[in-house]
């Protein structure tokens, strides 16, 4: 990602503001920006969703395609998450092959769904050992104003949550006919924090992301499990930071889950 | 007493003046590099055992001319980037591959150096060692240089950047001796040991 000198200059203010216990946009330390979730907006996708988080806007679409299962799990389908940080979303994104940032983003979202067992892969099986569904979740950033991690993860879950399973005939999908709905076992919500100085703030916007030394994401589920950690960027965090992040994440995720 | 420390190892909990390659954290002083520290010294500092050459103002280094530009030359001194040397006042015909000893006349905050006062060497051989070992090759007040010069009868110059240029006399013996110094640079009594070594090798 390119750097912007103006943003860097402005971001110096973020820490001074935090020391007076105010965030630049007036939020509390553990407060999300305004979230809105729209579901089922694209007809060609089996499931789709648009998530806005303040000025950050992300869309996700799910396609379920029949394919061959992995030999070590013949009765399980799988999912694959891809994210695209296209120049449409921000002057800081470059075209070309996926950047390391977007690869990390898609892998964190991917693991968040996979490892929390949000989707029961056995239910994606069509005929054991021969045909299973492979779910492709493709996420596009539309407008970038910080915290793509949470926006993308919510969008992916929202899109999967209302995805329809296509009807299969002769190992091919039948157009516009569906055999049922994909059921989510869990709805993990990712909550991302920025460490700025000694402060830990939830849902950093672009300015706060420019100022942060470290980024820390926690995924939580409704049955009181922590389902993923991911620490990024060169800064460090402490054990206490992780503890307080987990507590905040549980609270915040409850609110978001209601909106799904 | 001298001891070997690694990055992040505690040097002292006392308040001391801080020398090179140390940093303080919560009132204690730690090493930031692998090296040797002397806890009897008034300064808390570490002499690194490994490392690269960072140009300093006034250093004499041995460089190799890489290309000629319109107004000067680009010289490789084993630093992070090639260094510029102005043509002003240079009479010797320099070309790619010329070996020169030069003075670092300017260093900016990016560790980029400008060079001046070249002395061209013709013939001879170059040997490279780790730049952090150069002080041991020189010894206290040049004592080690003297031992090496007498022991091998060569004419040689040691650059701060770890390059040694030598000509005449027993060059092979010189390089062998320098290699030995490099390997044992963290041990005491090196000067005496080297005079013995050179005497033995001569026979």
């Amino acid at each position: 990602m390119q750097k912007n000198v103006l943003l860097e200059l402005k971001s110096e203010k973020v820490l001074t503001n935090l020391k007076d216990s105010v965030r630049t946009d007036g939020r509390k330390l553990d407060e999300y920006r305004k979230i809105s979730i729209e579901k089922g907006i694209y007809q060609n996708a089996e499931g789709s969703a648009k998530v806005t988080l303040g000025d950050t806007e992300v869309i996700a679409g799910v396609k379920l395609l029949p394919g061959k299962p992995y030999p070590d799990s013949p009765n399980e389908g799988t999912i694959s998450v891809g994210t695209e940080l296209i120049p449409l979303a921000s002057p800081f994104f470059e075209s070309g092959p996926p950047s390391t940032d977007s690869i990390e983003l898609s892998r964190v979202v991917d693991r968040g769904i996979r490892e929390s067992k949000a989707v029961d892969f056995k239910k994606l099986c069509i005929t054991e050992g021969e045909l299973v569904f492979i779910g492709f979740v493709d996420i596009y950033a539309i407008n970038f104003d910080g915290n793509l991690f949470d926006a993308s993860a919510i969008a992916a879950i929202a899109a999967l949550d209302q995805a329809k399973i296509p009807k299969i005939e002769d190992e091919k999908t039948v157009k516009d006919e569906f055999s049922g709905k994909l059921k989510l076992e869990r709805k993990p919500i990712l909550s991302t924090f920025a460490k700025i100085g000694n402060f830990l703030v939830l849902d950093p916007d672009l300015l706060e992301e420019t100022a942060m030394q470290a980024r820390f994401s926690v995924a939580t589920t409704e049955d009181n499990f922590v389902s993923a950690f991911q620490k990024g960027l060169p800064g460090s965090i402490k054990k206490e930071d992780v503890d307080s992040a987990i507590d905040t994440a549980f609270k915040a995720a409850k609110e978001i889950r209601k909106m799904l | 007493m001298k001891k070997i420390v690694v990055p992040g190892e505690l040097i002292t909990e006392q308040r001391k003046k801080m020398g090179e390659h140390v940093y303080s954290f919560n009132g204690k002083i730690y090493s930031d590099v692998i090296g040797i520290t002397d806890n009897e010294s008034a300064f808390a500092s570490v002499v690194p055992l490994k490392g690269c050459y960072i140009p300093k103002y006034g250093d004499i280094v041995i460089g190799l001319v890489v290309t000629e530009l319109f107004s000067g030359f680009l010289v490789d001194i084993g630093s992070f980037s090639l260094c510029f040397m102005s043509k002003e006042g240079i009479r010797e015909p320099l070309k790619r591959g010329s070996v020169v000893s030069v003075r670092v006349s300017k260093v900016n905050e990016l560790n980029e150096a400008d060079l001046s006062e070249p002395r061209v060497f013709y013939g001879g051989e170059i040997y490279s060692i780790s730049p952090v070992k150069v002080p041991r090759i020189i010894g206290k007040n040049g004592s080690m240089l003297e031992v090496l010069r007498r022991g091998t009868n060569t004419n040689f110059i040691v650059g701060r950047n770890g390059r040694v240029w030598a000509k005449g006399g027993n060059i092979q013996l010189l390089f062998k001796a320098i290699k030995k110094i490099e390997e044992e640079s963290h041990l005491p009594n090196l000067t005496n040991k080297m005079s013995e070594f050179l005497l033995k090798e001569k026979k």
């Binding site: 067992k117 620490k231 965090i237 | 992040g8 930031d32 590099v33 390997e183």
Partner: protein, 256 residues
């Protein structure tokens, strides 16, 4: 599947499938300064994992516009040899390799005094030669030794270990079999141990908060052991055969 569920990951005596205790590491050996051409290098074996790490630089950044005029940048390259996994691995770096390179590089950036080398890059080349779960923590542990071996100023060594859960028990340093347990949780964590700063933390699976506390304590204790090995590896280089026995013993005493 049913067969796997019957596996007892920790038996009544508190021993694991490979006979280790819950808080026992696989055998770990570290050797610094193994490659002649590199500024710094390290060979590390950790159970079946074998990794080789070399450090080049600081040197000029290419392409030039990637350089930072205020500090050095770290380029971490995690690569797995084609024969390092049970199937053949496509040698082309995949998404996993790129992500690991990114998080490991960022973990090291906190430790290295980057501001001393503006406009340069420090390259870390990590090659996994053989693997059996936990290769990223092996690589990161080796990389910080290689960086110190290159004489690059650092605030502290970075030490990494994986903790997790298999069969309902929190265990240290999972092997592949344990990582494949149905309830497995894998949590690689790296600390700068003296200030207890977490520089790498990832986790996949379902963990309760108390399990996270337990896992952290287990990791923190193990990291002290691993750090000791790192320090020993760095100092060992200077205990050579050619030394007189007297000085050798003296330095040995200091190391201990």
């Amino acid at each position: 599947m049913t067969k796997e569920e019957k596996k007892v990951y920790v038996n009544k005596k508190g021993l694991r499938l490979d006979g280790r205790k819950i808080d026992e590491l696989r055998p770990l050996t570290i050797k610094a300064g193994v490659l002649k051409n590199a500024k710094g290098s390290c060979y590390l074996t950790w159970g079946q994992n074998k990794v080789l790490v070399s450090v080049q630089g600081p040197r000029e950044v290419l392409p030039k516009h990637h350089s930072d005029p205020l500090k050095a940048i770290v380029k971490f390259n995690y690569r797995m040899a084609a024969f390092s996994v049970p199937d053949r691995k496509n040698p082309k770096p995949g998404r996993r390799d790129i992500e690991i390179s990114k998080v490991c590089g960022e973990a090291l950036e906190k430790a290295i005094m980057l501001e001393k080398f503006p406009n340069t890059q420090i390259e870390v080349w990590a090659q996994v030669l053989d693997s059996n779960a936990g290769s990223r923590v092996a690589v990161l542990t080796a990389a910080s030794v290689a960086l110190a071996d290159a004489g690059i100023p650092m605030k502290d060594l970075v030490t990494a270990v994986a903790v997790g859960r298999a069969g309902g028990k929190i265990i240290l340093d999972l092997n592949k079999e344990e990582e494949d347990a149905p309830d497995a949780v894998d949590m690689p964590i790296a600390l700068m141990t003296s200030a207890k700063e977490i520089v790498l933390l990832q986790m996949d699976g379902l963990f309760s908060k108390t399990e996270w506390d337990e896992a952290y304590e287990l990791a923190a204790k193990a990291l002290e052991q691993i750090k000791e090995k790192q320090v020993q590896a760095l100092k060992e280089q200077f205990l050579q055969e050619s030394m007189e026995t007297e000085t050798k013993e003296k330095i040995k005493a200091e190391v201990q």
